[in-house]
Every structure is written in C-alpha cells, then in structure tokens.
C-alpha cells in the first residue's frame, strides 16, 4: 500500500516539472526517495514487528485454540453437569411433590389424631363416669343381693311350709278323690236302683190297674143292660180313675226318667221347633183353635227332644187354661237378657193366683180343680226339670182370669268351648 501511494505522488509532480521545475522535482524525488528508503526501513521494522506480532498472534492463536479445546471440554463438562443438574432438579421436583403430599397426609393424620384424641378423651371421661355409676350400681346390687338372700331364706322357709301344706292338701285330695269315687259308685248304684225301681213301679203298678180298667170295660161292654144308670155311672168312674192312675204312673216315670237321662247339646232352630209343636197339636171338636202371635225366636243349643217337650207342655197349658175363654190367643216370643236367651208363652186364660206361686212347679201340685181343668200336675214340673238340666231357669207371672206368662231361659253356649 505504501508503494502505491508513492507512485501516485510521482505522477502528480511530473506535470509542474514541464515548466522547468526539474530540480524541485528532483529534490522532491530525492526526498521521496529518502522517504521511501525510510519508509522501507520502517516497513522492514514494521514487517519485523509484524512477524513478531504474527508470531505472537500464532502463539496467541495456539493458546486460544488450546484454550478453546479446553473450553470445549469444559463446555461439555458443563453441559453434562447441566444435564445432571436438570435431572437432579426434576428428581428434586418429584421428591418435593412427594414431600408436599406426605406433608399434607401428615397434616390430615395429625388433624385426625387430634379428633381421635378428643374422642378418646371424651370416652375416657364417659368411662370414668360409667365406672362411678358401676360402683354405685355395684353397691346397690350388693345390697339387693343381701336382701335376696334374706328373702331366699324366707322363701325357703315359706316353701317348706307350703310343701307341708301341699302334702296335707294332696292327702286331703286323695281322700276326697276316694270319697268321690265312693260317692260316684254309690250314686251309680242308687241310679241303677232307681232305674229298676221305676221299672218295678211301672210294671207292677200298671198291671193291676190295667186289669181293673180292662175288666170294667168288659163289664160295660157285656153287662151294660143288666145295670141301672147309677151302676153304669160307677163303671165310668172306675174307668176314669184307673185311666188317670195309669197316666199318673206314666207321668211320674217320665219325670223320674228326666233326671237320669243324659242331656245332649245340639243347635236348635227354635222357630222351626215351635212351628213343629204347633202343627202336631191335636184339637177336639168344639175346642178353640188358638190364634198365635209369633215373635222371632233366637236359636239356642240344647237337647232338642227335651226342649220340644218344654214347648209342648207350655203351649198345651196355654191352650188348656184358655178353654173357658171365647178366644184363645197365645203369644210366643224370645229375647236376649243378661247373657241368657229367654223364651216366653203368654196366654189370656184363667191364670193363677201368685199367692200360690211356690207350688206352681211342684210335682203333682195343681192350682185348679180337676173338674175345672184336667191334668196330673206334672207338666210344669217336667218343664222346670228340663230347663234346670240345661242350666236355665223357669218363672211365671199371672193375674187371675187375665192370663199367665211362662218364661224359661237357656244359657248362650259357645260352640268352640263345648266341643
């Protein structure tokens, strides 16, 4: 570069030299020469310096390359370390999270423990209270136990007394049972005796009466023309009386049979039974046909044939004792009263004097004369006996010449219990 500059300067100086300025030019050339020589020296020193500098630069370059290599290695090392650090950082983040989670869990657990602790504390208090109560209860039990032991001792004593009493009762019971067996046997014997007595009575009493009645009848049939009117009247009296005696014996036997007859229980359609009784009644010519007022009858349980006899007797009586009235009106009804079924037969007949009420249901007791109303006086006794055997009652009320009302009651029988 310095050379090029020098050439440019020369060319410029040639132009003014045309006018004679060769000397200046020469001086200048000289100078320039000198200058150039100097510059050359300078360049050479500069080159030397440059070489040195170059060497220095090369050295420096080498140093720099060494340093770069070192840096490169260091860089790799740093990269590696960096990666390690990043890995470690990631691990730390994970570990951190884990710790944070564990921390939360521990806090929760701690909170729970606090709660549990309180609960335990509460329970502890309760247990202490309970223990206190138990101690009280225990004392109470101990007291009661003592009382019970006392009581047990008393009971033991009472038990012994009871056992003694029981033994006595058992002994009495055994004796009683023996007595019952004995009495039952006696009763059975008496019953059998009564049965054979009834048979004898009916057999042995009936036979002679039958003979009296039969022979009198023959007398009447075969010898009527040989007797006058008073003789015939006597024959009629004998016939009537012997017939009545036969009836009395039959009634008495029927009555005594009632006491021995087993009473059975079955459902009775009372309306139907009374209808049957009314239908079976026989009337003689000229007799009043009764006018019935029927009130619906409750059903009952009992011995149908016996209860039928009760209705027959009561209705027949109502008809019989109404025979002197113009009309016969009979009311038949029933109702429930005080847990019993009550039936009644009410007539407007002769009635009876309540003064003699106690004789009304007696055997062979009559409140009317034979001439007024015939009968043996057994009908109401039979009614009473049948009703009594059904655990019922009979009663009556009357006003003389206005009529009578006869009642009988039967218990309401629970079918479930009786079967």
């Amino acid at each position: 570069m310095d050379n090029k500059k020098a050439e440019a300067a020369v060319g410029h100086n040639i132009e003014p030299a045309l006018t004679g300025e060769k000397e200046i030019l020469e001086a200048e050339l000289l100078f320039a020469n000198k200058e150039l020589a100097f510059q050359d020296v300078e360049i050479e020193s500069r080159a030397a310096e440059l070489i040195i500098a170059n060497k220095e630069l090369v050295y420096q370059n080498e140093e720099k390359e060494k340093r770069a290599a070192e840096l490169f290695i260091a860089n790799k090392e740093l990269v590696f370390q960096n990666e390690e650090k990043e890995k470690r950082a990631a691990e730390l983040i994970v570990a951190n999270k884990e710790l944070a989670f564990q921390n939360e869990e521990k806090e929760k657990r701690a909170a729970e423990l606090v709660v549990a602790n309180r609960e335990l504390a509460y329970q502890n208090e309760e247990k202490e209270k309970r223990a206190a109560e138990l101690i009280i209860a225990n004392n109470e039990l101990a007291f009661q136990n003592e009382e019970k032991e006392k009581r047990a001792a008393e009971l033991s004593l009472a038990n012994q007394e009871l056992k003694t009493a029981q033994d006595a009762i058992r002994k009495l019971n055994d004796e009683l049972e023996q007595k019952v067996i004995q009495r039952t046997t006696q009763l059975e014997t008496a019953n059998k005796e009564l049965g054979s007595f009834s048979y004898s009575v009916s057999h042995d009493l009936r036979a002679p009466i039958r003979a009296i009645n039969g022979y009198t009848k023959i007398l009447e049939e075969d010898y009527a023309d040989k007797l006058d009117s008073s003789g015939l009247a006597i024959l009629h009296s004998i016939l009537r009386n012997s017939t009545k005696m036969g009836n009395l014996i039959d009634d008495l036997l029927a009555f005594s049979k009632l006491g021995r007859k087993e009473v059975t229980h079955c459902a009775i359609d009372m309306n139907e039974l009374v209808r049957l009784v009314k239908d079976e009644l026989l009337f003689e010519t000229g007799e009043n046909i009764p006018e019935y007022i029927m009130i619906d009858l409750p059903d009952a349980r009992g011995d149908q044939s016996l209860i039928k006899q009760v209705w027959i007797n009561l209705i027949s009586n109502a008809i019989k004792y109404s025979k002197h009235k113009k009309h016969t009106s009979i009311e038949i009804g029933g109702f429930l009263k005080d847990g019993k079924i009550v039936y009644y037969v009410k007539d407007q007949g002769a009635g009876f004097d309540m003064q003699y009420y106690d004789k009304l249901f007696g055997v062979f007791q009559r409140l009317h004369s034979q001439e007024e109303f015939d009968g043996t006086g057994i009908g109401l006794a039979i009614v009473e006996k049948i009703v009594r055997r059904h655990n019922g009652n009979v009663w009556a009320e009357s006003t003389v010449n206005e009529g009578a009302c006869f009642y009988f009651s039967l218990p309401v029988i629970d079918v479930e219990k009786s079967y």
Binding site: Y199, R206, I209, R210, A211, G214, Y215, S242
Partner: protein
C-alpha cells in the same frame, strides 16, 4: 184242641192280661186259632213238640208268637233267644208284650231279633186297639209271606 191248627202262640203268665188280650184278639177273629200257654217252658215244649205236645205235628208252626217278657222259670227273653237262633223257627214273627216302657230288656229283645213290642196300655180302649192292630198286622204280613 187241635194243636196242628195253631196260628198264634200266646205266651202270658198273667191270667188277667191273658184274658184281656184274648178278648182283644177275639174282636179280630183270631181266637179260634190261638193257643195260650202260661210260661216259657210250655212255649218251648209246644214249639219243639215236647211234654204234652209230643203228638203234635212238628211240620206246622204258628204264624205269630205273642210273648210276654216277665214270666217265672223260662222268661220271654229266653224263649225269644231260642226261637231266633233256630233256623226252622226264626222266620216266625215274635211280638213282645211288656208292661213297661222302662223295661231294660227291650233293646236286648230287638238285638235278638224281636219284630215288634207293645207296652200294654193301662187304658182298656187303647189296650184293645193296640193288641188288635199288632195281631192283624203280623198275621196279614206272615200270611202274605207264605203265599
């Protein structure tokens, strides 16, 4: 009496009852063929042709036996038992006559095969009618059996 013509054998110890019964049966026209024996022994003798009845023809038997129950020695029940257990005699109708409906033997009589029983009524009209009717009934019935 010709014992081979007997249609009704009447066994009755009571003379009174016998008299009344025979009178009742007489009204039905049966008495001429009726034999009255006074106890069970005689009834058995008649039926088996023994004693005073040895000459009787055993082929002909009565068509009806009227039998009183209460008799001395052999009772009506014993006669009934014998008759009803004999194959040759058991077809003869036997009507039991008793004085009482209380008679404990009535049920047993039926069990032994008695055909009917009559409780002799006290009242004479009833008595006559009962005997008449039962006699008529069984005589007519046994007659139709034989035809």
């Amino acid at each position: 009496m010709n014992y081979d013509n007997v249609e009704i054998l009447f066994v009755e110890d009571s003379a009174d009852d016998a008299m009344l019964t025979i009178r009742a049966l007489g009204k039905s026209g049966f008495t001429n063929k009726l034999l009255h024996v006074k106890d069970g022994t005689e009834a058995i003798d008649f039926l088996y042709c023994k004693g005073i009845y040895t000459t009787r023809n055993s082929k002909t038997q009565p068509r009806l036996i009227l039998l009183d129950l209460k008799m001395p020695k052999v009772s009506g029940m014993q006669v009934l038992e014998k008759v009803k257990s004999d194959p040759d005699l058991k077809s003869i109708p036997v009507v039991i006559l008793t004085s009482s409906s209380e008679d404990p033997d009535i049920a047993r009589c039926y069990a032994l095969g008695a055909n009917s029983y009559i409780v002799k009524p006290v009242e004479s009209d009833n008595f006559f009618n009962a005997i008449k009717e039962i006699g008529l009934y069984w005589m007519v019935l046994s007659q139709s059996d034989n035809l």
